[in-house]
Amino acid sequence: MTDLPVRREKTRVNWIFHPRVRSVFIQLLLVALVLLVAWFIYRTTSRNIAAQRIPIGFDFFWIESGFSISQALIPFSESNTYARAFLVGLLNTLFVSALGVVFATIIGFLVGIGRLSNNWMISRLCGTYVEVIRNLPLLFQILFWYLAVLAALPVPRQSISLAGDVFINNRGIMMPKPLFGEGIGIVALVLAAGLLLSLIVAVTSRRYRIRTGRRITLWPVYLLLIVPVPLAAFAYLGVSFDIDRPVLKGFNFNGGVRVIPEFLALLIALSTYTAGFIAEIVRAGVLAVPKGQSEAASALGLRRSPLLRLVVVPQALRVIIPPLTSQYLNLIKNSSLAVSIGYPDLVSVFAGTTLNNTGQAIEILGITMLVYLVISLIVSFGMNLYNRRIALKER
């Protein structure tokens, strides 16, 4: 009975007005339009480039770069290729971003929770931090740390000397560098194995606890695996150990490890700035957990620490994680402001110097965009995985 009117409807309606035909048609039209635009861009680009006789392609990657980079995590010199310069820039971007994410998260959580504190002083201090940091432009903050704070440090000859061989001056922080001889790789392997073993023990003990409800004290086991065992391996293999101390020689310090001020300024500015936003996200997350939840938990007899750990934090994290991901992505992209203070990040080394020396604007900007896109997608993929793990499981 119910089928009949529908069928009659179908026969009456012209196929042009059929919703499915229409939607397919519109989608085909859209795809055709996008392809047309892409083809148009491709055609005019190749014509214009041919008219100016600019060579295209990625051969430039294998040419000797001929410039130097002030901070390289892998060995780099003028005789290395542009490909290696790209790698150095990429690693510098990843390095400052990764540390920035860690510090921003720590500061952000502390400030966010501090703002909820019952202590008037702490909550006002944290509130002021958020309002000041969040409302000043990031570029300004980077320049402030670089030009006003770090540049005001003394010259190398009058360095501030901290404990031992650590020196601070306007060229950065100089620290002694440990030099290990042969066999350090095996010690590192032993340490890694210890960490892995501890992890396995922890997971097993957790399963055991859930099954039986009994707790076993395991921290001495972890400690043994991580400290004395690798140390014993170190002693047994007789790995030589030396320290490379920074020494003032002529204009600058020689030897040791040096943290350049451009890196410090960028790291401080990025972490404190992003922390201002993370603090608000954390505060919102904690406040989003209904008061009844913690009241019910304490009515069940939970003390403050397990109450937070088992009831409040898991629910707050559900609110915190998605906007936190955006902040991480912002931090990574903001790290490209490094060009303004001469930190050799990807944009400065690759989309800057390399672009200028080779003139391959389209290729280089394309690659740079792709790199940022891939980094961002990986980060958000990881955060989404974590989010799925902590999300409310609806059954």
Binding site: S70, G342, L365
Partner: protein, 337 residues
């Protein structure tokens, strides 16, 4: 992100720029002005004064091209560009002409797709240090920190020089000339390096210019000149011959003061240059009085040199190599005939 989004916009306009345009000279005539890329603020080369008027030898060259085409030196729009953005701007047709103390090199001529119209200033790269550092030669600069600008030949020459002399150094590379000199002044670097003319100009920005000295070593050849993009020979010819005409005018002693008197000259080479004989201007797509226009409105090569970087300027740079070939320098222009 700001800088890279500008670059991206430029790259997109490289991609989308129209191919249908006629010659640049026709475009310029139709538009009624020249788009000229210059430095953002380099005393003697291109710098806006307190009234917002651009001054400098690079700026005056743009005005000379405008004077030759429009008989009006004000028909120029100046676009200040950083060293890093300048080439993309020219490739993507944002500007008709780049006159921005740019060194003529083979890769810029070929790989980057440009044509250099000649040399307006023969320069060389040098080093500036604090007098208190008690250094008298660049060979004593081992283990120093050097501030320089990104996207310049300077950055590469620096690497070559230290490498070939087996000296250790650290280069801190900034985006704009201002950032470089600021970092040098703050003590981040021991050494400031760029073309010597530019060192003179930047030194004026320091709070105590006399505390700093330029070392005697010149480590490179830096022929600076105006450039256009590949693929438009007519426009290339116009720009090239405006420069040659200004140098020739100095050689024939034609300047803003002597112009009216020289117009009555009987010398055939002067008559040809000033368009009294022949139609050499029209052959270039201009009018025959093109050189008269340039001299009347802007001046000859010697005049713009003295006014902006030479004796009559704050920089007071010696003309050195930039003297005419018959006065002990190497400035030389092919004849108009």
């Amino acid at each position: 992100m700001g800088r890279s989004s500008i670059l991206f916009a430029l790259a997109v306009s490289v991609a989308l720029g129209s191919t249908a345009s006629a010659g640049t000279l026709d475009d310029v005539k139709m538009r009624g002005s020249i788009l000229c890329g210059v430095s953002g603020g380099l005393a003697g080369f291109a710098q806006p004064d307190d009234k917002g008027n651009w001054t400098g030898i690079d700026v005056d060259f743009c005005r000379a091209v405008a004077a030759a085409i429009f008989n009006d030196p004000t028909k120029v729009k100046f676009l200040p560009l950083t060293a890093k953005d300048r080439f993309t701007a020219l490739q993507s047709r944002e500007i008709d002409l780049l006159s921005r103390n740019t060194t003529w090199t083979s890769s810029r001529d070929s790989q980057l797709g440009f044509n250099f119209a000649g040399v307006i200033y023969y320069d060389a790269q040098g080093f500036m240090v604090r007098k208190s550092a008690k250094v008298s030669s660049a060979l004593e600069l081992s283990n120093t920190t050097v501030c320089t600008q990104s996207g310049t030949t300077t950055q590469l020459n620096l690497a070559d020089y230290f490498r070939s002399n087996n000296m250790k150094y650290e280069a801190v590379v900034f985006n704009t000339a201002d950032e470089v000199i600021k970092a040098y002044e703050s003590g981040r670097c021991d050494v400031f390096t760029t073309d010597v003319s530019q060192i003179y100009a930047e030194r004026l920005k320091l709070s105590k210019p006399d505390d700093h000295m330029i070392l005697p070593e010149l480590i490179s050849k830096e022929p600076l000149g105006p450039l256009v993009r590949h693929g438009d020979d007519q426009w290339f010819d116009v720009v090239k011959w405006v420069l040659f005409a200004m140098i020739n005018a100095e050689e024939y002693d034609i300047n803003q003061k002597t112009l009216d008197q020289r117009l009555k000259s009987e010398r055939p080479d002067v008559k040809r240059l000033l368009g009294i004989e022949g139609n050499y201007g029209e052959q270039l797509g201009l009018t025959n009085d093109w050189v008269v226009r340039i001299i009347r409105h802007v001046g000859n090569y010697g005049e713009i040199f003295d006014r902006n970087v030479g004796e009559n300027s704050r920089l007071k740079i010696d003309r050195g190599l930039n003297k005419l070939w018959n006065k002990g320098g190497i400035q030389y222009a092919p004849p108009v005939r």
